[in-house]
């Protein structure tokens, strides 16, 4: 978080906490908040086509300050259930900052809701950005609360869950085939589950693979029953090899990966040939380990000139140190600083931007639209990044359209 007033650029945003909850099959989301807190999630839910999964109970000021929210909630849940065409299996109640700060009794509320509706599973999630810098982020808490609903009593099987990533892996990713050769299935992502029951069975998996920090708290919560490995998506061939070693150790089996290594190396060489010495700017919003991504690009011979955004993840710190030592010319730009308002569109002139943030501040036409490691892991991550880089130089995108299509949500 920046020091000073915060400038929220048009390119800031991500998957959105409402969409995370909407991944729970046969669930309904109910936000309990002042009207303002529902503006961005409700409009984005319409744009992205899941408005029917979300309801809002907009509280009056006096209801929060006078502690009248519980009765409003109980009545609101009844009204929602009356209007929904199908009774949901689960209802996720989202508390905003005001509810969180007013000390709402989450445990008591859940008990009462469960007493009134025994056939429905209730969970309270938090949309409370006021905790920034002082505890788990809203995204981490929501993943934790969601996976708190899985059934951990099932027997362990040779399946892997993919936790923390907002998207399932793309079809081209090698991980499912690798796991299969090792005698395991998966990885299963919540969005691929078509019933609440099949989602709850994720609790019988043999391993949680956490590829994004948003899922780490959830995996820790489940770890007494399901072991986990935290392998944040990497674009570095050496590190990917190390990550697979850790994964093989966790599942007690291994397989030869040399074909993937060779194919990926060819893709790197082809892309480097096409991109040449063009300068590259990287957005920290592209990856959960953006400095690792920058380090990888430098190692492959790409001409990285700047990094847009902040990233202080502990697991990315060593890569950042390496970059600053080995490529001291790289500019690190804090895009949240108030003075960045003056820099929109004129903050450097890279030939290619990886991610939206760098593209927005530089108005680069060539954009590799990578957002938060969407759909990637392992060697496939490198392949996809290389393809995006190569394609970016031939097809300039209208940035605002590209961002709208992705559906960035703050």
């Amino acid at each position: 978080m920046t020091d000073g007033l915060y400038f929220c650029s048009a390119s800031f945003g991500g998957f959105g906490v409402a969409r995370v909850g909407a991944d729970v099959p046969e669930s309904h989301l109910l936000f309990l908040c002042p009207p303002s807190c529902g503006r961005h999630t409700s409009l984005s839910s319409i744009s992205l086509g899941y408005r029917g999964r979300v309801s809002y109970l907009f509280l009056e000021e006096y209801e929060i300050s006078a502690g009248m929210t519980e009765d409003a909630l109980y009545d609101g849940v009844e009204s929602v259930l009356e209007r929904l065409p199908i009774r949901p299996k689960a209802i996720l109640i989202y508390f905003c900052c005001s509810l969180y700060m007013s000390g709402a009794d989450e445990t008591g509320i859940l008990e009462e809701l469960r007493r009134r509706n025994e056939d429905i599973v209730f969970q309270i999630c938090r949309m409370n950005p006021i905790v920034a810098g002082s505890g788990p982020t809203p995204a981490q808490t929501i993943h934790s609360r969601i996976y708190g609903l899985v059934d951990l009593d099932g027997k362990e099987d040779r399946r892997v869950n993919l936790i923390g990533s907002d998207y399932p892996l793309d079809g081209g990713c090698e991980l499912p085939a690798v796991l299969k050769r090792c005698g395991w299935e998966g990885p299963d992502h919540i969005s691929q589950k078509n019933s609440f029951g099949s989602f709850r069975k994720m609790g019988s998996a043999g391993l949680n693979l956490v590829i994004h920090p948003d899922g780490r708290l959830a995996a820790e919560d489940m770890s007494p029953k399901i072991p986990f490995v935290f392998l944040p998506v990497s674009y570095d061939m050496d590190e990917i090899g190390d990550q697979y070693s850790k994964l093989f150790s966790a599942i007690g089996s291994e397989t030869d990966l040399s074909e993937y290594v060779a194919e990926t190396q060819k893709e790197i060489d082809r892309t480097k040939m096409a991109v040449g010495d063009r300068t590259v700017a990287v957005s920290t919003s592209s990856a959960c380990a953006p400095w690792g991504l920058v380090k990888a690009l430098i190692k492959y011979g790409f001409n990285v000139e700047s990094v847009f955004g902040e990233s202080s993840a502990p697991y990315d710190a060593e890569a950042k140190r390496w970059v600053l030592e080995n490529a001291p010319h790289i500019r690190e730009i804090d895009t949240e600083n108030a003075d960045m308002l003056k820099a929109v569109g004129i903050c450097g002139s890279p030939d290619i931007s990886v991610g939206f943030n760098a593209a927005y501040f530089t108005k680069t036409g060539a954009v590799a639209p990578l957002v938060c490691d969407e759909g990637v892991f392992g060697y496939y991550a490198v392949n996809k990044l290389m393809k995006m880089l190569a394609e970016s130089i031939d097809s300039e995108k209208d940035l605002e359209t590209a961002m709208d299509e992705y559906g960035l949500v703050l």
Binding site: P35, S36, L43, E60, P129
Partner: protein, 375 residues
């Protein structure tokens, strides 16, 4: 009492309205609240944010500062930002958390002014009101700070309440500008983009035109305090432009609003103006339903304030044609003709490329009337 929304979005909030007005007029604005609050404004409520963001920042309020009532960080951060941008004034606008903890927004602005020596206003928005409340509060805050004086008879007319929340790209306002020019007058304060000097000279005009609910209370205030007459009318069709020209000439008369089988859902002033044009063109009456404040001056006898979706569902059953933002259509009976009229305060930028704004609206209404056979 809490309001349930299951299909509609939440509407543009009060602090977004305030932030737009105050930054457009030249202020450096801090939306005082957690980082999530600013996303409404930058992502959905200010369609210009992508191409030309204004001086609107967020205080990034944290839990510890909220609990401890630490306004010092806000003031210090504002001071630093003013060193960069040297604004003509600054503004702090509130959000739900400052409201919950009893933060004195106007007091914080006073403290800030003492520290930086730049005029500062506090606007006590709280996220429970809608955009028009924020615009309205901002005008009153600036009036209080800069003491608008009376200096009439300069041949000018002010336009109050013009914003992208009601008017999208603002192209309809050219019609109003032409009407004022045809009346041999010029525009005094036309929109916040005219700047602070135009606002502080707002008393140097003969009269005001309130073009939306956002401008109504301030127009009423100026009428009472500076004896400036006003009319509430949006530039929709000849009925309104002629009314406005008549008003500028000094003609005043009581209007009768005919009720009917057409329901217009939207800002009360804009919807009332559409009602006027529909009546002139077709002889049919209409009623207005609004989520955004009802005004006696523009109210028909069956006009109604909507609180929630159930109100809209129930009232829409009584009509034969409905006019409003396309997102309202999900709650209207499916067999009714629905005339789309995008209201950015409702649907944001969702329909900005769809050509369903104020321009061409009357043609769409007449087509619906023709097809439905309403008489």
């Amino acid at each position: 009492m809490a309001r349930l929304f299951m299909k509609l979005p939440s509407f543009a909030t009060d602090y977004s309205g305030a932030a737009s007005f105050l930054s457009d007029i030249g202020g450096l604005v801090a939306v005082h609240g957690p980082t999530g609050c600013i996303g409404n404004y930058t992502g959905y409520d200010d369609p210009r944010w992508f191409s030309s963001p204004g001086m609107v920042f967020n205080s990034a309020l944290r839990e510890i500062d909220a609990v401890m009532g630490n306004d010092h960080a806000l003031i210090e951060n504002m001071r630093k930002a003013c060193e960069i941008y040297n604004p003509c004034f600054t503004a702090i606008v509130g959000t739900p958390i400052p409201d919950l903890i009893g933060c004195d927004i106007t007091g914080a602005a006073d403290d800030l002014e003492k520290v930086i020596g730049i005029p500062s206003v506090g606007v006590p928005t709280n996220g429970y009101g809608y955009y028009h409340n924020g615009i309205e509060k901002s005008m009153f805050a600036l009036e209080k700070k800069f003491s608008v004086l009376s200096c009439p008879n300069r041949g000018k007319i002010n336009i109050l309440g013009h914003s992208h929340y009601d008017y999208g790209d603002g192209s309809a306002m050219e019609i109003l500008a032409d009407a004022i020019a045809d009346s041999h007058r010029s525009i005094g304060f036309g929109s916040p983009a005219d700047g602070l000097a135009a606002f502080t000279d707002i008393g140097c005009a003969d009269a005001n035109i309130a073009v939306s609910s956002s401008g109504m209370k301030f127009a009423e205030y100026l009428e009472n305090s500076l004896n400036m007459p006003f009319i509430a009318s949006a530039p929709i069709g000849a009925a309104n432009t002629e009314l406005i020209k008549d008003f500028i000439k000094g003609n005043r008369y009581e209007e009768t609003r005919e009720s009917g089988n057409i329901l217009i859902i939207g800002d009360h002033v804009v919807s009332d103006s559409l009602r006027r044009e529909i009546f002139r063109e077709t002889g049919l009456g209409s009623d207005v339903a609004t989520f955004f404040g009802l005004h006696d001056k523009t109210a028909g006898k069956r006009d109604i304030v909507l609180r929630d979706e159930n109100d809209l569902i129930n009232i829409s059953k009584r009509y034969e044609i409905i006019v409003g933002d396309p997102l309202y259509s999900s709650l209207a009976p499916g067999n009714l003709p629905f005339v789309p009229f995008a209201h950015p305060a409702v649907s944001g930028k969702m329909f900005r490329e769809h050509g369903i704004g104020m321009i061409g609206l009357m043609e769409r209404v007449k087509e619906a009337i023709r097809r439905s056979g309403v008489s």
